[in-house]
Subunit: 192 residues, 2 copies
């Protein structure tokens, strides 16, 4: 951040009075520009005992498999975001959503909130950001071809809970894998 | 938003190719400036059957009672944020934290994630943003003097769960009360 988005003046990193950390402060108008983590909402979608995955048609991690998920927009709820992403990426109409997991990625300033969900109907089709969408038997999940550590982590947890048929809300740690942060930072804000 | 924070050029609201909504786009360098909801983390803190509340020493809603909570910072987890806020606002050292509730405030672009927690020790003291901190018997919560609808909502839910001793993860709707959004917008980013 180099300039104030309000007045166009130059910003400087300094600690405002009463604050405990440096912020981007405008030298001209004094506006303080806070930077906060971004929320990503998504869903583990199960239909007829199988899980819905999307093969990414966008960078980062083009061609790998992921669950439908994406950045929250202003004006929507976390559940509405997960529903929109499932519709956009997989043409899927989510039903019976329940909160499932919170995953922190402090190294890239992201928080994932994941629902588990069913479908209103089994009709799915790849959206603009997906090469293909498919239902996988839990035993056939392509673990080594998943897009991100956060996806592996939450699917692992879900598959471990699944045989018991009980899904307590999970707070999961995500390992900071080599290169993962870089990928995301390069990727910026994936459309959708 | 009037100017690009990267190059200082003027920004314009328009829909980037492949996007589905208008964004602030820089006329000079082309940077797209996304705006996303902010995450607030906090905790309902119980000690010896009583709940910890803080009386706000800052606007908005100076003088009203609230639970310790505040905006997440980059580089921390949601739980770390809740712990930091409890320390800053109430001098409280949280222990035994468990996820409790998600609350959406789409009308002001905020998402609250609330833990329930105990204390490592019953020592509390008002921080710079609190006039006083006190433990309230659930029957004595000052409902009409709470700071925000979101605080009322999550405390109501907690007090309803409490007699059963079971706290399923809650996804709660928050009514958009008269003036609430304005207050928050005016309040901007409360320090802490």
């Amino acid at each position: 951040m180099n300039y104030c988005n309000q007045c166009g003046g130059p910003v400087q990193l300094r600690q405002p009075a009463g604050d405990d950390r440096p912020r981007h402060v405008c030298n001209r108008c004094g506006a303080i520009h806070y930077q906060n983590p971004k929320l990503v909402a998504g869903a583990i979608v199960e239909w007829d005992g199988k899980l819905l995955l999307c093969r990414r048609a966008i960078e980062p991690r083009y061609g790998t498999w992921t669950i439908p998920a994406g950045y929250m927009e202003n004006g929507e709820t976390v559940a509405e975001c997960a529903r929109r992403e499932a519709r956009e990426e997989a043409g899927a109409d989510l039903a019976a959503m329940a909160p499932y997991a919170l995953l922190d990625l402090p190294f890239i300033g992201q928080v994932y909130f994941i629902f588990r969900a069913g479908l209103a109907a089994p009709d799915v089709q790849p959206g603009a950001e997906s090469l293909e969408v498919r239902f996988f038997d839990p035993a056939e999940i392509p673990w080594s071809e998943l897009s991100f550590a956060v996806v592996r982590q939450v699917l692992r947890s879900y598959c471990a809970d699944r045989p018991h048929g009980i899904y307590p809300f999970r707070q999961l740690a995500v390992p900071h894998e080599e290169g993962e942060g870089q990928d995301w930072q390069c990727g910026g804000h994936p459309a959708g």
